[in-house]
């Protein structure tokens, strides 16, 4: 059985009682520049959802286990896009960074290959895990564009789905990987 480590410190601290002076941040999300004054204890996921209003990014736990909050981000650790769990960062840590959420994946009304594959392969039921799952898959495909099913299972094992049993999720990612390779552009 996969054991998942407990990482609790972030939110524990986030609930600290002292309101702090606000800090200005600038973040580019889905190509749009946002600047806000935020409390240092505000989590990035709450910033994205409550402040910016992009609620496609979800929250499923308080221990960084579920991956429902996964987004793509660059600019915090070098200039490569990578999938991060946005509940493991403070909003202030995203100052100057670029982020892609589920709302920013479709281009000119055309679904991203992963979105299309999740839809067509019935890789979702309640759909609550789906945005995080798609972005985790995208971050993974960027590192491994031609994965085996086993590798896909490993690649998304940080994201939980309670509804589907993962079978169709793996199929969808496999199909999308093929389309992405054929298209030659991953985003």
């Amino acid at each position: 059985m996969a054991r998942r480590a407990a990482v609790r410190t972030v939110q524990r601290r986030a609930r600290g009682p002292v309101p702090q002076a606000k800090v200005p941040i600038r973040v580019k999300i889905n190509g749009v520049e946002y600047s806000h004054e935020v409390e240092p204890r505000l989590l990035l996921v709450h910033y994205i959802r409550d402040v910016v209003g992009l609620t496609g990014t979800h929250i499923g736990c308080d221990t960084s286990n579920c991956g429902a909050c996964t987004v793509l981000m660059k600019g915090t650790w070098g200039n490569e896009w990578r999938a991060v769990k946005s509940c493991t960062l403070y909003a202030v840590q995203a100052d100057g960074a670029e982020i892609i959420t589920i709302e920013g994946l479709a281009k000119n009304g055309e679904l991203h290959p992963l979105q299309k594959a999740f839809w067509e392969h019935h890789a979702l039921q309640c759909g609550y895990c789906t945005p995080g799952m798609i972005l985790a898959a995208l971050g993974f495909l960027k590192l491994n564009p031609n994965p085996t099913r086993e590798e896909i299972r490993k690649g998304i094992s940080g994201n939980l789905c309670r509804c589907t049993g993962y079978v169709n999720i793996v199929k969808a990612i496999e199909a999308a990987a093929k389309e992405i390779r054929e298209k030659g552009s991953w985003i």
């Binding site: 059985m1 996969a2 054991r3 998942r4 480590a5 407990a6 609790r8 009682p17 309101p19 709450h46 409550d50 209003g53 992009l54 609620t55 496609g56 990014t57 979800h58 499923g60 736990c61 308080d62 221990t63 286990n65 429902a68 959420t101 589920i102 709302e103 994946l105 479709a106 679904l111 979105q115 299309k116 999740f118 839809w119 067509e120 019935h122 979702l124 039921q125 309640c126 759909g127 609550y128 789906t130 798609i134 896909i152 299972r153 490993k154 998304i156 094992s157 940080g158 994201n159 939980l160 789905c161 309670r162 509804c163 589907t164 049993g165 993962y166 079978v167 169709n168 999720i169 793996v170």
Partner: protein, 759 residues
């Protein structure tokens, strides 16, 4: 797509599109202007008297708008079977999740801070956390009227005679754990006032029932409350009872302001309901050739602190505890017992996964004793259509269990059974089988569903019903059924769901019955529309037509005349007949056995699971490497939805069998998050093969049986039977974590044996 093609076709779901682009709104995604953040103070103790609650400090917090306690609740008890659950605790707390006070504040942080300022003076009482202990007369009482919430005693057939005649008798005790739903979206909702009404938008499973509970607690007429259920991020029965709804309505009613309440994962783990843990003792009498003569079965379910849906769960356990077999006699004694553990209620399969786990392990142990093949033993005793079941009911609906078992018997996985060795000496392979059954629709209780069907002015069709979309794809399936019956493309059917203001009451979304009810109600609605067309024609031409047919976007009248649906809509409107009809479907019922709520059912669903496992003898780790789920599904409405539902159920079954270990000590939950309560990840779930066995259920819409639950029921026993096949040890309790299996293997000397072999 035209008539007769939508049903049975693998259509991508419409809601799935919105979900894949991140546009679907769940209750937890809703934020309102000027909204209050609500937080709940929960009990520190599993059992204590409340001496005093002092909220004054919290109230004086600058950003706190209001604090509520039981004093603010007009009728402080709710519950579906028994109104025994306090909205906010008054005299006592009975489990660690029990709510004591609500804080409504301007921000999330303020609300959480203010919770810490509330002082509660408790007088801790001795808790009772073991259901067997709780049944003793001198045990601490959870409720004043004693700890036995409900008991059922049935004596069916000549049990003593059967035991006297038996060649073999097998007796064992089985245990199952407190599985937690762990849907990815926790319990969540918002509320606001609109036109003098309280509107609650929350994740739930039945808006009308939630509305009735809110109205009761606030002592308001139901018409003053509107409940809307948006897309729900998973439910599996865990949102069948009230969660956030009454608290939200109370805050908005008293403050006049919009409010938001979203449970944290920890809160969801503690205050959300669980699967009833069970202790099941079975004594089976059989003849030498493998004919089962009788079962004596004792069932004890740990109810936790409040009744919730427990009585119905107990009855499902009682009804299915003999398994899908021709058992001639049975003695059943079942108890539902209050403890100071967390509340148990509905969870996919209700009480069936517990008792089927027990009887299906028992079948393997019986087969072992008789020296028979476990699949042949099952097949020999399997129910057939027309059989009289143990309750005396004749099975008139379709009974596909024998077909399912036959498919299993010829499956390559079953045929490969017996190859136990692996490339490494410490790995052992095993294959197991288990069968499942469960009655569906509410059964002996009155059960009725209503949908409205509106012909839109542009000729498209709108179906309205209070069913909720909890991920099971009901909306798409309803659209497909309506499209077929009306001969229109499935894309021309709109569906509005789960809003007490605009959709009629299609009854509750649970017990695998929603599609059955809604589908039949749609069929009735189409009949009503046909009738209305006949009436229209009578008015227009003075003569009632003999035949009205819908096809290809037209309605044909006595094959003489036809109108497009658009035209029909116009005519219905201009004549004042109206474009909307109602379809009402009442489930045919059987008289319940005396002393039971809903035993027996009229319809049953069946299934068989095959599982392959690899057991590491050194660590006790079990890897499920393959699962085959064979399901008697009636006619499949949408194959993709169908297999998806079954795969998801199998994954939950794997968790139930091996991983999901809610550690509860003295009433305290130790596993309060997803890092300690492990649900299956993509690495724990193997490839799953789903094989539908299509039998025709005459009463169902297009023969569809409920499928939401059957897939989970026989997974755990199949896995444990496979572990037994692999190792020779006979584990009878789940979850079988690797630690538990390790100790069992050690007890049986397997670890020693291996060590000796390697030196």
């Amino acid at each position: 797509m035209t008539a007769q093609r939508a049903v049975g076709a693998p259509v991508a779901r419409r809601d799935a599109f919105e979900k894949a682009v991140g546009a679907a709104k769940y209750a937890s995604d809703l934020f309102l202007d000027d909204m209050l953040w609500v937080a709940v103070l929960r009990s520190k103790y599993p059992h204590a008297r409340i001496r005093r609650i002092d909220t004054s400090k919290a109230e004086s917090h600058p950003n706190v708008v209001a604090v509520f306690t039981h004093r603010d609740v007009p009728v402080n008890r709710y519950g579906l079977f028994k109104k025994d659950r306090p909205v906010l605790c008054d005299d006592k707390v009975r489990y660690i999740g029990d709510p004591i006070a609500l804080v409504a504040a301007e921000t999330r942080e303020d609300a959480l801070e203010a919770l810490k300022l509330i002082e509660v003076d408790y007088e801790p009482l001795p808790p009772v956390t073991d259901p067997i202990e709780a049944m003793r007369p001198d045990a601490p009482k959870v409720h004043d009227d004693g700890n036995i919430c409900r008991e059922v005693h049935l004596r069916l057939g000549d049990v003593d005679g059967a035991f006297a005649r038996a060649d073999v008798i097998v007796e064992n005790t089985y245990r199952t754990g407190a599985q937690i739903h762990a849907y990815l979206e926790t319990e969540a909702g918002i509320s606001y006032m609109e036109d003098g009404k309280i509107v609650v938008v929350a994740g739930g499973q039945s808006p009308y029932r939630d509305r009735a509970e809110i109205a009761h607690a606030l002592n308001l007429p139901e018409e003053m409350i509107r409940v809307v259920t948006p897309y729900v991020g998973g439910a599996f029965g865990g949102k069948d009872d009230i969660t956030v709804q009454i608290h939200l309505a109370l805050v908005t009613w008293k403050t006049g302001r919009p409010a938001r309440l979203v449970w944290s994962r920890e809160e969801s783990m503690m205050a959300g309901t669980k699967r009833h843990p069970a202790i099941i003792k079975i004594r089976t009498a059989a003849t030498r050739d493998g004919t089962i003569l009788a079962n004596k079965i004792e069932i004890v379910l740990d109810k936790g602190a409040y009744t919730a849906l427990g009585p119905a769960v107990l009855d499902v356990a009682v009804e299915n505890c003999n398994g899908p077999y021709r058992v001639q006699a049975s003695q059943i004694d079942a108890y539902l017992v209050y403890t100071n553990n967390m509340v148990a209620s509905a969870f996919r399969g209700f009480g069936a996964p517990q008792v089927i786990f027990a009887i299906e392990r028992q079948m393997d142990l019986l087969a072992k004793k008789l020296g028979m093949d476990p699949l042949e033993l099952r097949l020999k005793n399997a129910l057939r259509k027309g059989d009289r079941y143990v309750f005396g009911n004749v099975l008139e609906g379709s009974v596909g269990i024998a077909q399912c078992l036959e498919v299993a018997r010829s499956h390559p996985l079953w045929r490969s059974r017996g190859r136990n060795s692996c490339e490494w000496p410490w790995l052992r392979r095993g294959v197991g089988v288990a069968a499942a059954m469960k009655g569906y629709t509410i059964g002996a209780l009155p059960d009725k569903g209503v949908v409205a069907l509106e012909l839109l002015r542009d000729g498209r069709v709108l179906v309205k019903g209070s069913f909720t979309e909890i991920g099971q794809g009901v909306i798409q399936a309803v659209a497909q059924i309506a499209a077929d019956l009306l001969g229109v493309s499935v894309d021309d059917v709109e569906v509005v769901f789960a809003d007490t203001e605009v959709t009629p009451d299609t009854s509750v979304t649970s017990a695998s019955r929603q599609l059955f009810l809604a589908g039949n109600a749609v069929r009735e609605a189409v009949e009503a529309l046909r009738e209305r067309v006949a009436e229209l024609e009578g008015r227009l031409s003075g003569r009632r037509p003999a035949r009205v047919e819908f096809s290809g976007g037209w309605v044909f009248i006595d094959s003489e005349r036809r109108y497009s649906l658009q035209e029909l809509a116009r005519l219905l409107e201009s004549t004042g007949l109206g474009r909307q009809v109602l379809g009402v479907y009442e489930v045919p019922r059987v008289e319940p056995l005396p002393g039971t709520l809903e035993i027996p059912h009229l319809f049953y669903m069946f299934g068989v699971t095959l599982a392959e496992v690899l057991v590491n003898l050194l660590t006790g780790e079990v890897t499920v490497s393959k699962v085959v789920s064979i399901v008697d599904a009636g006619r499949v409405i949408n194959p993709i939805t169908f297999t998806g539902q079954v795969e998801g159920a199998v994954a939950q079954g794997i968790g139930f069998a091996l991983m999901e270990d809610a550690k509860i000590r003295d009433g305290y939950l130790l596993t309060r998050d997803l890092s300690t309560y492990l649900i299956p990840s993509s690495k724990d779930v193997p490839e799953i093969e789903v094989i539908p066995v299509e039998t025709e259920e005459a009463e169902g819409p297009f023969g569809a049986k409920g499928i939401g639950e059957i897939g989970i029921i026989s997974v755990a026993p199949a896995i444990l039977n496979a572990v037994a096949d692999a190792t020779g040890v006979e584990p009878n309790a789940i979850p079988l974590t690797h630690e538990r299996l390790y100790w069992l293997l050690k007890e049986h000397g397997l670890v020693e044996q291996l060590r000796r072999a390697s030196t």
